[in-house]
Subunit: 634 residues, 2 copies
């Protein structure tokens, strides 16, 4: 059955199902959704159940859009919206996108725009024709989110074309009679970095992640025949925004990919932030720059946003559902349902099944998983981490003793994740008096990344979400935090009073942290505390290993040698990753246990050790694949 | 360095090395060889060492060809050859190929044409300009060998073009900076049938075998991206001519492959024989025919013949050496040397490290092998075979008791290998009187295949080779053997006196054996004796399992049911495969033991059992890969 035939069938089915008085002017595939264009959006809006019922019957995501004919004039519509929505919703902006017949309302309190069970939304649509999307006004300004959203709006027409093309590709007629499922490991196997997995069936190819390898120029093996031609890949899925998972996504567009990227909303925005920063740093350090900002925009433009739990067709024989991974904002596990009940593969990405201040712990409640590809960062036999409590106590001690002796504490941290977690710990202990109150300087992309957290509170756990909603309790707005945004200020911090410095990059492979380190390293009164994983090959790992002198290249300058005399500490309880015990417990507590587990994203011996441990404990088929290997599941 | 630059460098080197008085008119890559065109072939011929020295220094195969200007007129040359060569050489034919400046002399005693250390050859070339190739006149007429050789001669011009193209591809400039070695299993993993392995490096792709699966329509997974585009594959290597290794080679040419096939001379001829027979049978049984005889000719045309032990460049980073596998005539193990000492992979193909009447036992004397991909047909824990002696005794008993009670013995056998082995056993025991002398009928391609054995005696062991050279002792010419070459004769045999019938196909999946079986199966006085492996899914396997009634489709007729009342026997000592003990011993006795062994070509549990046994015994990394899986070695 051709795409058009499928579409016609769906259209007939819709006409049959909706009340006679509703006119269906067109039905289209737009990305994974079935979009119904109607001259009667008001009537659709009246009965919220129609769309839900249709979606259930068609087993598709269904969206209703007004036919352009019935849209009120934007100015009139704007006034009407303001008239209907109560003032204390705090509407800050309204954008009209006539391409999608959609008005986006940005408000401080989105709930008041939506109304009980969506009643206010429906009332507005009944009045103005436009369908509504409601977004939260970030409590902290975020230029990146603003510019991403603005860019997406500006590209509305092209977005629509992209979505149509993607939609038709997803719903193409299956052609193969074979049945098999494979993954090929393009990167991130027996190593940390350049995560990239190609999931293939006779019908489709899906790429999960495409990252850089910190401390190395190695990239995922995109040039092997399995990935060729990249332009034909059906879908790219990004588990989370860290560069070792998303850093080379823009490169795919350089190589001819024009397809969709599936990810959560925070992942899209954080990814753009980190990729642009990556280009900046590379340019400053005269590194080879694999792509430019145009490619970052291409990636952004092709993003199709998913929420946790939303089941979505991404290829003729593959359905994707993202689940909370508890690792960083918007981080996901990607669950692939292949065929009609044929097979299920879950790629965990990085996940934390333990507690954190920011997120709910990772979900492992999948209806069915035959194969699990899981991370193994802390999969080694010795990788059980101390409790959070002990980690926090240690940080309190380090800050107190260092600042009391007149030193400074440098904490290298990923902009996204570890930074916010550490900020929350520091804020709490300075507030409750355990930690001396000294200035905490935030450098690199940390401030911006923090702002993005406050833009997407629905991805945070209840406790922190509630605090963010009350300005006076928002921990990120505490007066202990200071943003470093110039070289002058950086120099002042370095020369100034005892303080805590949180800066990127998290593994000292670039970023402003280098400048702090270079100047503060020779003084034994200072302290450098690692709160996150240091990959093999990075400067961070070398320092952690105890090198007492390290070479540093500083942009145009020559390589110089820096003596490492400051105190070195590592705190292990703050990780965004499950520790060994939690990895094992993650499997043990799964309701539906996988038949097969592949361990990836860990040093070689950790991947192998975890695979062997899981085999012994659960008698399941386990494997630590190598890069460039292909595993067949069915 | 471009191909032309490489060639120029080699040319300069040659000019430097050869004596000044020898004119080098051109140097070309033709297939894996460096070909020197000269106006002084006589001078080259005078000193046999020049070419040997050059080959050593260049690390290439070197051939000298006369410039067309210096070739004598063929008629004059013919007379000169006859004048120089002693009469009792028994020259039967001389062909002149001006494209290659080569005269092919077919003689009963090639040694007399060659002379001591090639002295006669050199004398001829000095006189006529043409270089000489000497081939043996087969003691038994072989239409297929004749027609293959005739076809190759007729395609001389195109062959030269092909060789040049292949030569330039082999010597292209390497472009990749990566280093890795992988195999992808396209077929024949955890199964017997459709053997096909893709060996890949960043630079090159080589396909080893491409077979059918007897009793099934399954083909190797040629459509996966790893094999795409097939036209870009660098080389195809065929380990031996059995259809489960070579049956779909012609299909590659249908799919756009235009490259070389590396194999031994007997493999080329046997393969053509079996492929043409395969098409015939498929046509008669109205099966889907995957290719036609034109594609078989394409395959033949692209064959580049190698002898055992000849080291040959087949890609910029891969050298191939074939070694005797002892399985059937011309059967080889393919040893791949990758990079300059980077890695060595050997694919055993089917092999017999035990004794047989026809062949030397398989070689395992490789200078270096890091990875071995080995067959596992008899790799199961119970797969130790009884001795040859016991097998032969059993066959004597079966023939005697069956024919004495008035019955007929049907022996299904592969045309190539098992048939000749069985013929030799029967001939000996009828000659020494242990077995009653009854007529032995040969049907299917057995006669032709036997003739091909006598064409290539250098591929047989010393004992049988010597017997073949003496007409009166040639066992294949014994008067007990009768060739069945018409349907009438077949009917007469079926209705006639007690006898032994050897017929193809070996697993009863087609061929004339079906007709014998259909008519002789209901009579309990007859006997059906298996001497070879019966693959899952074939009629042979069903009968072996004890089905007492089997469905048979007979060409245009409908399927009919045949009652199996005749006596069923299996003799296990005749196999062309190593048994379990021999497989293990093969590894144990290797001088340079592999780090990694992959077990393929066996039922699933046998591959797994052998892998696990070798791991336990030798502590090497072992694996029973699945089809569609990719293993990385380095």
């Amino acid at each position: 059955m051709s795409v058009q035939q499928t579409l016609n069938e769906i259209r007939d089915r819709i006409i049959e199902e909706v009340p006679k008085e509703i006119t269906i002017s067109n039905v289209e595939f737009e990305g994974p959704e079935v979009v119904i264009y109607t001259e009667d959006p008001r009537k659709f809006a009246k009965d919220g159940d129609i769309v839900r019922e249709l979606a259930k019957k068609l087993r598709k995501r269904v969206t209703v859009r007004p036919n352009v004919k019935v849209l009120s004039d934007p100015e009139k519509a704007r006034n009407k919206i303001k008239e209907i929505v109560p003032d204390d919703a705090g509407i800050s902006n309204i954008y009209f996108d006539s391409e999608f017949g959609e008005a986006t309302v940005e408000a401080e309190k989105p709930g008041l725009v939506i109304g009980k069970y969506g009643s206010t939304l429906r009332e507005i649509t009944e009045n103005i024709g436009w369908t509504l999307k409601v977004i939260r006004k970030p409590p902290i300004e975020t230029p990146i989110v603003q510019s991403v959203r603005q860019y997406i709006r500006a590209q509305s027409e092209e977005r629509k074309e992209i979505l149509k093309r993607v939609g038709r590709k997803i719903h193409r007629e299956p052609t193969s009679e074979e049945e098999w499922v494979r993954t090929t490991h393009l990167g991130g196997s027996r190593e940390v970095g350049r995560s990239s997995i190609l999931l293939t069936t006779p019908e489709s190819r899906v790429l999960v992640d495409c990252g850089i390898k910190p401390g190395s120029n190695q990239t995922p093996y995109l040039h092997i025949p399995e990935a060729y031609p990249i332009s034909d890949i059906d879908a790219v899925v990004i588990t989370h925004a860290h560069l070792d998972h998303s850093g080379l996504i823009p490169l795919l567009y350089k190589y001819g990919y024009e397809g969709p990227i599936y990810c959560t909303a925070p992942t899209r925005d954080l990814m753009a932030l980190l990729q642009l920063d990556y280009i900046d740093i590379a340019a400053r350090e005269s590194d080879r720059i694999p792509y430019n900002s145009k490619m970052v925009r291409e990636a952004t433009k092709h993003a199709i946003l998913l929420e946790y739990g939303e089941v979505t067709d991404i290829a003729p024989d593959i359905r994707l559902t993202l689940h909370n991974a508890g690792h960083i904002l918007g981080s996901s596990m990607a669950h692939f349902h292949i065929g009609e009940g044929l097979y299920n593969v879950t790629v965990t990405g990085d996940f934390n099944s333990g507690k954190s201040r920011l997120f709910d712990s990772a979900s492992n409640n999948f209806p069915r998983v035959e194969a699990l590809i899981m991370e193994s960062t802390y999969g080694g036999a010795q990788d059980n981490q101390p409790s959070r409590r002990r980690g926090e106590d240690k940080l309190v001690d380090i800050v107190n003793k260092t600042t009391r002796r007149g030193g400074k504490v440098i904490i290298p941290a990923f902009a996204v994740g570890r930074s916010q977690e550490t900020m929350l710990v520091i804020e709490e202990h300075m507030r409750n008096g355990k930690m001396d109150k000294v200035p905490v300087y935030l450098d690199g992309m940390i401030w911006e990344a923090t702002a993005i957290h406050t833009t997407y509170p629905e991805y945070l756990n209840e406790k922190i979400k509630n605090r963010i909603f009350h300005k006076e309790k928002n921990p990120f707005l505490s007066d202990i935090f200071h943003r470093v945004d110039s070289n002058n200020m950086r120099e002042e911090v370095i020369k100034g009073e005892p303080c805590v410095i949180l800066s990127t990059s998290g593994m000292l492979n670039g970023g402003p942290i280098i400048q702090y380190f270079k100047q503060l390293a020779p003084d034994p009164e200072n302290n450098l505390t690692f709160v996150g994983y240091q990959a093999e090959g990075t400067l961070g790992r070398r320092i952690q290993k105890g090198w007492d002198e390290v070479p540093l290249s500083g942009g145009n300058e020559r390589t110089e040698s820096v003596k490492v005399r400051l105190e070195i500490d590592s705190i292990e309880g703050f990780s965004g990753h499950s520790d060994r015990q939690q990895l094992i417990e993650f499997i043990r507590s799964m309701k539906s246990k996988p038949e097969k587990v592949l361990t990836v994203h860990g040093d070689e011996e950790k991947c192998i050790d975890l695979a062997s441990t899981l085999y012994k404990k659960f008698h399941m088929d386990t494997l630590a694949p190598k890069n460039l290997e292909t595993t067949r599941y069915i």
